[in-house]
């Protein structure tokens, strides 16, 4: 095949057009059944519902904050469903769709944003590390974990692959770039999955990078690929291929999922201060869920009853999210002192004891009429 400009500047890898037409890509064949596509549609609808419920719960004062995934469902479900159970994912803090794929209950995510936990789920049980808020830090954890996988000899067809999620903003961080380098020189079984949602709070992509993000990989010595992040099938195929390369000892890959943050950075943010509504309208036409629905309708792979059933399930999930969130009680005050150290610590023990006495000093004060 002759080298053309297209090879230097590849289009997005896309398997599903916004109109729902299935296309083929020579490097990423995807053998997928109608049932599997319907399952992906269900995932997409349900995580969008969990997300919108969480935004509402924040508005009602039930959550302190929420970072919405709106618009990034396909990137997360596509990549998340490419993972095997023994694989390990290292999320940033917006990966609610990946968490869904790993079997984490929405309440586990809500707990952190409600302020009742700092994470709290068992990363080993789910194959999903805790959300990491300091941007880019988790890329190194993923790389180190992958170096551990190598030392365990867990490389091969049945091997373990590791994936690190981060955003376009994180590509400016030293830790992310150090992770690329450590992964490269160690040929570590790790996939770097960058959701380029075009915005790092108020800063557009051109404030982070002068070259396309996927092209950074070449400088570190491993392949980089740009995929349509609003195409769940392309994200699935590309991530699956990269994970398989990693698990069979062929080293890291950088995937740039080209997508869009349709909502605010978090519930504290107001994007009308820095971006045009027209941009949002443009991306709405590429909605990641609508194109799967278009596909299912176009190819007559689902009927009205199916869509109605999914909507009904979404209503139930929404209700579950609301109930679970409101039922999460505040932790006990003395929990502050738990799990700071594995081993007994005289300072912590002393402070716990003094604070317990202090709290106890208020007991009965009400009955005595206070002081």
């Amino acid at each position: 095949m002759p080298q053309t400009a297209a090879h230097e500047e590849p289009e997005l890898i896309q398997l599903l057009t916004p109109e729902g037409e299935l296309t083929e890509h020579p490097d990423y064949p995807l053998d997928i059944s109608a049932e599997e596509i319907r399952a992906l549609y269900r995932d997409l609808v349900l995580v969008r519902r969990i997300d919108s419920e969480a935004v509402s719960l924040q508005r009602q004062g039930e959550l302190g904050l929420w970072a919405s995934l709106l618009g990034q469902e396909a990137a997360q479900i596509g990549s998340g469903r490419a993972l095997r159970s023994e694989d390990m994912a290292f999320p940033s803090y917006r990966e609610h769709g990946v968490a869904w794929c790993r079997g984490i209950e929405p309440k586990e995510l809500l707990g952190m944003f409600r302020g009742v936990t700092n994470g709290g789920w068992d990363p080993h049980e789910y194959g999903l590390h805790l959300y990491t808020i300091v941007i880019g830090s988790q890329a190194l954890h993923a790389t180190g974990y992958a170096m551990g996988v190598q030392r365990d000899g867990a490389v091969g067809e049945d091997g373990t692959a590791v994936i690190s999620y981060f955003g376009d903003g994180a590509t400016s961080q030293g830790d992310t770039n150090e992770a690329f380098n450590f992964a490269s020189v160690n040929n570590a079984p790790v996939v770097f999955f960058c959701q380029n949602n075009q915005w790092a709070i108020s800063e557009p992509l051109e404030r982070q990078a002068r070259v396309p993000i996927y092209k950074r990989a070449a400088g570190f010595g491993f392949p980089g690929v740009r995929v349509d992040g609003n195409d769940v099938l392309a994200c699935l195929a590309v991530t699956r291929a990269a994970l398989d390369n990693a698990r069979t000892g062929q080293g890291p890959t950088l995937i740039e999922a080209f997508t869009y943050r349709m909502g605010a950075h978090t519930t504290n943010d107001d994007p009308t201060r820095y971006r045009d509504a027209a941009e949002l309208d443009e991306w709405k036409a590429k909605d990641p869920i609508m194109r799967v629905r278009n596909h299912l309708e176009l190819y007559e792979l689902a009927d009205e009853a199916f869509f109605a059933k999914i909507d009904e399930e979404a209503d139930k999930v929404g209700e579950m999210v609301r109930t679970q969130c409101r039922s999460m009680a505040d932790p006990e005050p003395l929990e502050i002192f738990d799990e700071v150290y594995a081993e007994p610590n005289v300072h912590i023990d002393r402070q716990r004891s003094e604070f317990a006495d202090y709290l106890a000093s208020f007991e009965g004060a009400g009955a005595e009429g206070g002081r």
Partner: protein
């Protein structure tokens, strides 16, 4: 089974014993492999345990600590070498926001058995950033344990205790004392050795308690020997997080005076915290305020000035004199 070892060789022997005891123990850092580290503390480990367990890393401290965290999550026990104290700072984010908090963030589901070895302190005539004493930053950070060794015996045992700890341990090595030699009894069981969290009375005395750790312990012992007027009790603090206040306050209640000496800068240094706590616990026993002998609140100076900057025997004795002036 006595062996004559330097502090550097004792840490090396302790690392070797740790690696023989547990196949999950790894050593990683800049030049720790074939070179054996710039101070040769990891000498021979690469040859005997291989490149998978003694890892020459890229030159990036944040990357070293960040990947060590990932390795710990996978079940390994990495011993990280930060080549010099002043090069720790690029790894500050991974240490403070990730390593120190991971256990608590995971509600106890993730352990972080990572040891960070840092050659620290001045007195070797080095260029800038090679003579720092950053221990207060670590002591101030919840979730970290911080220890410093002052003799070959402690070097040999405490590195092994640090490796066996399920908490992250900052292991501070007094680089100007690396070549101090002593007999080390390597034949006893590690379970019979003093825990690394305990302070040690290095020289008994009755008139004044003198606290030091790491490189200043030798200076403190010399000062105590040089003072012919007073009987000075020297305590090697050994652990800065947590501090063994039981040993310290027992001593101060007997002597009535406390001088704390360290190479770290005065303001907000470990001496300030120890002074506050001892004042709370020994208020009615104190004959004088707690005196601090520390480096000045300036950046570490060029090496031709460091003899004036570092607290030496005379500055320590001056501190003792100030305690007796009350």
């Amino acid at each position: 089974m006595g062996t004559n070892l330097t502090i550097g060789k004792a840490i090396n022997a302790g690392l070797r014993a740790s690696m023989e005891h547990d196949p999950k123990v790894l050593v990683m850092g800049e030049d720790v492999g074939r070179l054996g580290g710039v101070f040769r503390v990891t000498d021979g480990l690469h040859k005997d345990f291989g490149a998978d367990r003694v890892i020459d890393t890229p030159l990036a401290e944040s990357g070293i600590v960040g990947t060590a965290i990932g390795m710990a999550m996978r079940g390994y026990r990495p011993v990280v070498e930060i080549q010099f104290d002043g090069f720790f700072f690029p790894a500050a984010n991974q240490t403070f926001t990730q390593l120190a908090k991971m256990r608590r963030r995971s509600a106890g589901k993730l352990a972080m058995p990572v040891v960070m070895r840092i050659p620290y302190g001045g007195g070797i005539g080095a260029v800038e950033h090679h003579s720092e004493s950053p221990e207060a930053y670590f002591q101030h950070t919840a979730g970290l344990r911080v220890v410093s060794v002052a003799n070959p015996e402690d070097a040999y045992w405490m590195i092994q205790q640090a490796v066996r700890s399920d908490d992250p341990v900052i292991f501070l090595e007094p680089k100007r004392r690396y070549y101090e030699k002593a007999e080390v009894d390597t034949g006893v069981s590690i379970d019979a050795v003093t825990p690394m969290g305990a302070a040690r009375v290095a020289r008994p005395g009755t008139d004044c308690t003198l606290l030091a750790y790491g490189p200043m312990v030798k200076t403190a012992l010399q000062a105590a020997a040089a003072d012919e007027e007073h009987s000075i009790e020297v305590i090697d603090v050994r652990s800065l997080a947590p501090v063994d206040y039981a040993t310290i306050t027992e001593s101060v209640k007997r002597t009535g005076r406390l001088v704390v000496a360290h190479e770290a800068t005065l303001t907000g240094g470990p001496g300030a915290e120890i002074a506050a706590r001892v004042t709370e616990e020994c208020f009615y026993h104190l004959e004088s305020p707690v005196i601090r002998v520390a480096a000045f609140d300036t950046p570490y100076p060029q090496s031709r000035l460091e003899e004036h900057y570092l607290p030496d025997l005379d500055r320590v004795l001056d501190g003792v004199d100030r305690a007796f002036a009350y």
